[in-house]
Structure formats: structure tokens, C-alpha cells
């Protein structure tokens, strides 16, 4: 069942400067990425009538602040999304829904992050822990690395996934990063390098984790009709979905070998005209290597439980069956929190990725999320 409403396209993409400890604020970076995307589309800020963004409450910049900086005279649609959203793709999904429904004509979606605004950076260590975290933090169970490590260990116990399978994700993605001038980590690594990296929280190693940065990414969504007259080859968004499930809790979730990706994938394929076998390139979330395996499995791009072996067999590499995270992923370009997966899918479908280009890519998936929350989209070109 397709989405009701107007056919939508991504017509512009952009990044701010992305780096470590740049001193640039989330507003500066959101503004830069937005201007870059607007210019890429051949538009002006005055053409924008919708703005949407996802951010943690402690690490975001509001639609108002960005619209104000851009000098947008008025807005027909804006949406600051906080809470347990699936990272940067949340804004893209909201923008697609807004344009498809006629709530906006040209919608900007961005995600802006900063190192200094991160989960734990620069804050005084807490002594008393409110909410659900009072049942976890007192045990030294504090970070998303530890949460995902529980999922890794369970996947290993149930499916025989090995540490080398997580390593295969890191090695394959670094190879792509070596071909991407935008990546911060570009020196190729071997499995031995991966296995020599220190444990953060077993079985998770440093090289399983994305790279925290200051930076932002932005995309522009409009109608297919309007896209015809714009500067770039349109990339259409065929279907999109959120996904989450009961219990809405990282540790009470029924089966830790899966996550919200199975819910988002179910709705995505119900709505799309395409099937898993049609996907030419996958840009799937890689906050941690485990999450990439979860997505490959949930989307039906490999059998359930086989994600590790699928990657270790070379399927996700350049020239493989399913080139995946072809910009190097957030492990290497930096954690701009998932908007980068959308941008890379667009650039692959435009055919502008140079040495890392997937030949003749026509259909791509872009996904974000880990734990019970997920978001996904199918993109294509004609």
C-alpha cells in the first residue's frame, strides 16, 4: 500500500564542516548545512516553507533559531522532535510526510550535533539518578555503548556471531572511508587492527563505535512536480516508516537479537513498491557495528542472524552484492547522527560518489535507529 498524498523528492543535501572540537555551535553548523543543502537544490532560503529537526533536548537547535538565521519570512510547517526518535532520519520522515500531505511545499530537515553537548561531555557526574535510569546507572551501566554491548552478546550467544563479524563491518567501512574525502578516518585497517583496539565494554571495542564530532547535515524535500525544475537529478522517496515496539524499553524488549528495526522494516516493505531484492545500496545505521547487522537482517537483505557472516563474506564491499555504508559510515565520517545515511543514499542515486560509487544504483535504503526505536526510507531514481 503506497503512501497517500503527493509524490516527494529529495532535491538538495548538505553538510556543515564536520570535525572534532571545532568550537562551532549547533546553530552555526545547522545554518551552514542548511545553506549548503538549499544551494545544492538551486533554491533560496525564501523558497523554504517547512523546517523540521530531531535532536536530544540537550543537543539540538530549534527550527525557530535556524529559520531565523536563514531569514525565512514565515513557516507553514515546523516540528522540533525530541525524545526517543530514530536520530537524523526523523526529520527527513517528518519532511516527507509534511510535503506528501500538502502541509509544506519545500521542507528543510537537519540534524546538528556537538561534542560539548553530548551525552556526558562536560557535565558534573550525577550522584542521584531519577527515572528508569535509577535501575541501571547505580550498577555502572550508563552509556549506549553498554546497552548495545548487551545486544551484541545476545546475538553472539544465539546465532554464533563472532567478534570478527563486528570487525568485518569496521574494516569494510574504513575501506570505503579511504575513498571518501569527507571522512575523518581514512587510513585502511585490518582485522588485526580491529582486534587490537581496546575494549570499551566487552564485546564492544573502540572501533565498533561511531566517532563523536561537531557538525550537521541537512536535506531539502519537495514535490516531484516541483523537483523537475530544480538543479539536481531528483531522488524520490518511495516509502518511509517509523518503528518501535512493546515493551518500549531497551532491556525489556522481547528479543535482544533484534530491535525496532524489525518494526520499521515491516511497515517499510508494506508501503514500498520495491522489495528487499531490489535494493542496490544500503545506508543503514552504524552508531555501533551491531546496529548495521541488525538492519541488514531486519530489512531482509540477509537472513536473520546471518548479518555477521554476510558482511564477513564481502557482500557489503565495493563490488559486492550489496554495497553498504558506502561513505564509510558514522564510524568514519563522524557521528552526525544518521542524517549522513540519507545524504549518502541521495548521492549514490545521483551517481556522484566517484571512486566509491555503486554502479548503476537505482534503489537505496536509508535507516536509523537502535534499541526499540527505528526509522527507515526507500529512495529511488527514475
Amino acid at each position: 500500500m503506497p503512501h497517500h498524498g503527493r509524490k516527494v523528492a529529495i532535491v538538495g543535501v548538505g553538510y556543515s564542516h564536520v570535525g572534532r572540537n571545532t568550537g562551532l555551535t549547533v546553530l552555526q553548523n545547522a545554518f551552514r548545512a542548511s545553506m549548503d543543502a538549499i544551494t545544492d537544490a538551486g533554491l533560496k532560503p525564501s523558497d523554504i516553507d517547512g523546517v523540521t529537526q530531531y535532536g536530544f533536548s540537550f543537543e539540538s537547535v530549534t527550527c525557530w533559531e535556524v529559520a531565523d538565521a536563514l531569514g525565512i519570512k514565515d513557516l507553514a510547517w515546523y516540528n522540533d522532535i525530541n525524545g526517543w526518535g530514530p536520530a537524523g532520519i526523523t526529520g527527513l520522515i517528518d519532511a516527507c510526510a509534511a510535503v506528501a500531505s500538502g502541509s509544506a511545499e519545500v521542507c528543510l530537515a537537519y540534524r546538528s550535533v556537538s561534542l560539548t553537548g553530548g551525552h556526558s561531555a562536560g557535565r558534573k557526574p550525577p550522584t542521584h539518578i531519577p527515572g528508569d535510569n535509577q535501575f541501571t546507572v547505580p550498577y555502572g551501566f550508563i552509556s549506549a555503548t553498554q546497552w548495545v554491548a548487551m545486544y551484541m552478546r545476545r546475538h553472539m550467544a544465539v546465532y554464533g556471531t563472532k567478534e570478527e563479524h563486528f570487525g568485518a563491518v569496521a574494516v569494510a567501512q574504513r575501506e570505503y572511508a579511504s575513498l571518501n574525502p569527507r571522512a575523518l578516518m581514512r587510513q585502511k585497517i585490518t582485522m588485526q587492527d580491529y582486534l587490537s583496539a581496546r575494549y570499551i565494554t566487552e564485546p564492544m571495542r573502540l572501533l565498533d563505535c561511531d566517532l563523536p564530532v561537531d557538525g550537521a547535515g541537512a536535506v531539502i524535500v519537495t514535490t516531484a512536480e516541483r523537483a523537475k525544475a530544480l538543479k539536481q537529478r531528483p531522488v524520490y522517496v518511495d516509502a518511509w516508516s517509523f518503528g518501535a515496539g512493546h515493551p518500549y524499553d531497551w532491556f525489556q524488549w522481547p528479543d535482544l537479537t533484534t530491535n525496532g528495526s524489525i518494526v520499521a522494516s515491516k511497515y517499510l516493505w508494506k508501503r514500498s513498491q520495491f522489495k528487499p531484492g531490489d535494493v542496490d545500496t544500503a545506508q543503514v545505521y552504524d552508531g555501533f557495528t551491531m546496529l548495521t547487522l541488525n538492519w541488514l537482517e531486519a530489512l531482509g537483505l540477509c537472513p536473520m542472524g546471518e548479518g555477521g557472516r554476510f558482511v564477513a563474506d564481502g557482500n557489503t564491499k565495493l563490488g559486492g552484492k550489496l554495497p553498504t555504508n558506502t561513505n564509510g559510515g558514522m564510524l568514519n565520517i563522524g557521528r552526525v547522527h544518521g542524517i549522513s545515511h540519507v545524504i549518502e543514499a541521495v548521492e549514490q542515486l545521483r551517481g556522484t560518489c566517484g571512486p566509491r560509487q555503486t554502479p548503476n544504483a537505482k534503489v537505496a535504503v536509508a535507516t536509523n535507529g537502535g534499541g526499540p526505536m527505528a526509522g527507515a526510507a526507500v529512495l529511488y531514481r527514475e
Binding site: S120, Q134, G140, F141, I142, M150, A157, I200, E202, P203
Partner: protein, 146 residues
Amino acid sequence: MPDYDKPLPELNQFTKSYWEAAKRHQLAIAKCSACGRLNHPPKPVCRFCQSDKLAPQVVSGKGTIYSYTVTHYPYHPGFVKNGPYPVVLVELEEDPRVRIVSNLVDYKPEQLKVGEPVEVVFDDVTPEVTLPKFRPRAAAAARGER
């Protein structure tokens, strides 16, 4: 123990009974009086039948390790001097769908594994707060404690 420097729970009206039971060295999970399901962490309504009649139910404290991690990077200064420490996700004997995050204590390295039978022990970390932790059931058996 005034020098205890790790984070502590901040009790609220829904979590108070859990921590009060721990202080009495009991593991008490919120049980729905309407449908009988255990709910954890405790909440104002039963997530399974939406009743608001939940009451603490003392459970055996027996369970099984569902998953675990050994944390090397201390995310809180209170854990710096620990060295690597195990965090376990324990499924309860009374309802394996309900899991508790805790630390494993008094264990041999080979006992830190998925499927290991464990039981609750109580760590009185401050005069006010007791943390339920878990140890392999085999550890107690070996000492002739049961």
C-alpha cells in the same frame, strides 16, 4: 559508608517499594493485581493490561543471565578504581520476560556466561541504599549454603 562515590537511585512514589524491599534484603517486583504480570521498572500503570493496581511482590531472586557486558571504560568517576566490571541482564525465574540490570559478584570467570543460573544478594552500599546484585547459584552451593 560516607565515602561511597558511585551514583545512587533517586526514589519516587513508584520506585520506593523496590528500594525499601532491597533494604530489607528482599527482591520485590511490581505485580499487577488485575492480570498478574510482573512489571519492571515499576510504573504507574501495568504495561500489559493498563490497570493501575500494582503492588510489590517478593520474588525468589533466582534467575538466569540473559546477556552481559564487561565494562572497561568508566563512564562515571565512581567506577574508575573498579577496573573492568561485569554488568548482567538477569531474567527472573518467576517470569523470564522480566529482566533486571545488575552486577555479578562472587563469581569465577567461566561463570560469566549467557544461561548461567544466578541468585540475588544484597549489597548495603550506604546506610540508606541497598543494591540487589547477583551471584552464580553454584557459588552458594559450593559453600554448602544450600
